[in-house]
């Protein structure tokens, strides 16, 4: 029997505007490409990382610390890709409000 690998990665929101609508959408889209289940957690609140409704509910602003948890065959790749997306500021670090 195969043990399902569980991976965790802690990340910090880097872009100035935080995880607002567009970054949240980018996160959910990317998460949807992996087979693993993705959970996003912040201060005890856990949401489905493949759900835009859930991710937006976290209201993560710049500097917020999040935990990404992946459970499934490709969880390692998922966490690498998703963590990098967050830490690279969703490609909009210098954006004006």
């Amino acid at each position: 029997m195969n043990e399902t690998p569980v991976q965790e990665r802690r990340v910090r929101i880097a872009n100035r505007m935080g995880m607002h609508a567009r970054p949240a959408a980018a996160f959910v889209k990317l998460a949807g490409r992996f087979k693993s289940e993705i959970v996003l957690a912040r201060d005890g609140l856990e949401v489905n990382g493949k759900s835009i409704m859930g991710v937006l509910m976290l209201a993560a602003e710049q500097g917020a610390e999040l935990t990404i948890r992946g459970e499934g065959p490709d969880s390692e790749e998922a966490l690498e890709a998703l963590g990098d997306l967050v830490e690279d500021g969703f490609g909009e670090a210098g954006e004006e409000p």
Binding site: A25, S51, L56, M57, A59, E61, G63, A64
Partner: protein
């Protein structure tokens, strides 16, 4: 009779057209129960309708990409994802299957549940998305209820129209043709609403926060939208229209001139210099402020570090923010205001209890002195920033000498620790207070003995002097910075500062009002700090009068017996030096 409504400017420009009321509401969803045999077909119908609406939104998105660019088009991503979201879809399907509800009812219920979850957060970022949800509901429910797709506005005539509604949505805004829709006016919304961002991209003037606009207009009425001052004029008279035409032409000239003016010195016609600084809400604004001609930062608000956060800000993060601003303004004064919490700004992690009277409650310096675990790291971070510029520490809402002495004591302790740790700072920094209560203004002579400077915060001083809540729109008429009681306190604080030999400045919206600028310079207040976008306008005002005229007008204003008299003295003194009607002040100028 024309009716004038004042709101907030959201997209610049001025427009004249016929009112078209926005017809975009969630329809009534009747309750009924399905025969059990129809459940599977209903689930099928839900998925089919979802796909139709999704295809429709994707079409709007690709049009947006063509018209406005990819970045703007991505505003539609969350909405499109919501249509496929497990939280939305599975919940709805479950309600159809388990309760034999029609898809419309099940979907409506599920959305109400999700909205309820979202509303528990007070984060503006999330609240703005509720607007997206509502837009989806309008579209999907019309189809599920077999109603015709809603027409946001009738589109028969070819005349220019002004859309008036409760609020707008991005998907409606992006479909507007700026040649037809010349203006927008809404009851709700903010400058950062997604649709307002799109309106700016499209160049459609817009005013938000008008509260009752949609109930005050009728279909087909004439209206003027002034997105520069945030005003809607319904059924304008001939005179209003002349003013409108005139204003449209002048605003163009004015804007061209402002771009030039940022490079000139802020001196009066007769060569009297005024230090003109910027108010900042975020460190990232400092470069824009400098480009707009700021000679330093008169008020750097630090609440961005705490509001909406779930944990206390770390010293390092604060230090980086303060240093960034200091380095953007080498050899210029940077006034960092310590946390001004409470009132209308509550950070999550402080667990502040709801108060009966928050503006008279546990706020500003009172919170800081009670919560040293929050205050000490801020003082340390500011001290470390003194190594990189001319830093002034500004304490909000100080009433008592003891409060200043306590902060000096804390600063002394933190300086000693930094010294021990070998961390550099400049001990030449200055410490002063925001004079923003009548208590501080009346007691200025005592407070001045312990301060290196005074900064008068007129927003709060007006509110506390007149006992008028500045966030209560019903009292907006009474919130008057030109009340004789305010003018006399300004004079008193200025006189005391000069006698004590300390700098006095004003930060607050009053300084950005042309009559306010004129009065303050006339009272010999040598430094003004305003929101950075207003800097060129204020500089233009300063450059258009003589300081002697301002002093004479201020003397007359001090002897005036009513607010209207004060305003009249100032307007007469300023004469034709400045075109007041072109000015984009935050509140109406109430000119005689």
């Amino acid at each position: 009779m024309s009716v004038t409504l004042d709101g907030l400017p959201a997209s610049e420009g001025i427009a004249f057209g016929k009112v078209h009321l926005l017809n975009w509401a969630i329809p009534d969803v009747p309750h009924r129960t399905l025969p059990s045999g129809e459940v599977d077909a209903e689930i099928e119908r839900f998925h089919r309708t979802r796909a139709e609406v999704k295809a429709h939104l994707e079409r709007i998105q690709s049009e947006a990409a063509d018209r406005l660019g990819d970045m703007e088009a991505r505003i539609f991503d969350p909405q499109i994802l919501m249509l496929d979201d497990a939280e939305v879809v599975d919940g709805t399907v479950q309600y159809i299957a388990e309760n034999r509800l029609p898809a419309s009812r099940a979907f409506h219920w599920r959305m109400l549940e999700l909205q309820h979850l979202w509303r528990r957060t007070s984060n503006p970022m999330v609240l703005d998305r509720l607007n997206d949800l509502e837009d989806l509901q309008v579209r999907l429910l019309h189809r599920l209820l077999d109603l015709p797709d809603p027409q946001a506005w009738e589109d028969e005539s070819t005349e220019p129209i002004i859309i008036v509604g409760r609020n707008l949505t991005p998907s409606l805004t992006v479909q507007m043709d700026p040649a037809r829709v010349v203006g927008i006016a809404t009851d709700q919304g903010t400058r950062t609403s997604h649709w307002a961002i799109l309106a700016r991209s499209l160049g459609i003037p817009a005013v938000v926060g008008l509260v009752h606009a949609s109930r005050s207009v009728e279909e087909g009425q004439d209206a003027i939208v002034d997105g520069r001052v945030g005003r809607l004029i319904i059924d304008p008279e001939a005179r209003d229209r002349d003013v409108f035409e005139d204003r449209r032409v002048r605003i163009q000239g004015w804007e061209e001139e402002l771009a030039q003016i940022a490079r000139l010195d802020p001196i009066t016609l007769d060569g009297h210099p005024v230090a003109l600084r910027a108010n900042l809400d975020l460190p990232g604004e400092s470069v824009r402020a400098r480009e707009h001609g700021a000679e330093g930062v008169g008020l750097f608000r630090t609440e961005f570090l705490v509001v909406g956060r779930s944990s206390m800000p770390q010293e390092e993060e604060q230090y980086e923010a303060y240093r960034h601003v200091a380095e953007t303004f080498p050899n210029r004064a940077v006034f960092i205001r310590t946390f001004d919490l409470g009132g209308d700004k509550f950070p999550m992690f402080l667990n502040m209890p709801a108060e009966e009277n928050p503006f008279l409650g546990w706020r500003a310096i009172r919170v800081c002195l009670d919560r040293l675990e929050l205050f000490r790291p801020q003082l340390r971070a500011i001290l470390r920033a003194t190594a990189h510029g001319d830093i002034r520490i500004l304490l909000p809402l100080v009433n008592d000498v003891e409060e200043i002495l306590r902060v000096r004591e804390l600063l002394g302790e933190e300086e000693a620790r930094l010294k021990d740790e070998g961390i550099p700072f400049a001990s030449s920094y200055k410490l002063g207070i925001l004079v923003e209560t009548p208590a501080a203004a009346l007691d200025a002579a005592e407070l001045a003995r312990h301060c290196d400077f005074f900064s008068i915060g007129t927003n709060d001083l007006v509110q506390y002097t007149l006992a008028v809540d500045r966030t209560n729109s019903r009292l907006a008429e009474l919130y008057n910075p030109f009340h004789p009681a305010v003018v006399r306190q300004l004079h008193q604080v200025a006189r005391v500062s000069h006698a004590a030999g300390i700098e006095v400045s004003v930060c607050g919206e009053m300084a950005a009002n042309p009559l306010g600028t004129f009065l303050l310079v006339g009272l010999d207040i040598g430094a003004l700090s305003v929101a950075w976008p207003a800097l060129p306008e204020v500089k233009k005002v300063i450059r258009s009068f003589r300081v002697e005229d301002a002093r004479a007008a201020a003397r007359r204003a001090l002897a005036a017996s009513t607010s209207a008299d004060v305003t009249r003295c100032l307007a007469e003194g300023l004469g034709n030096a400045v075109d007041l009607s072109a000015f984009s002040g935050r509140w109406s100028l109430s000119l005689p």
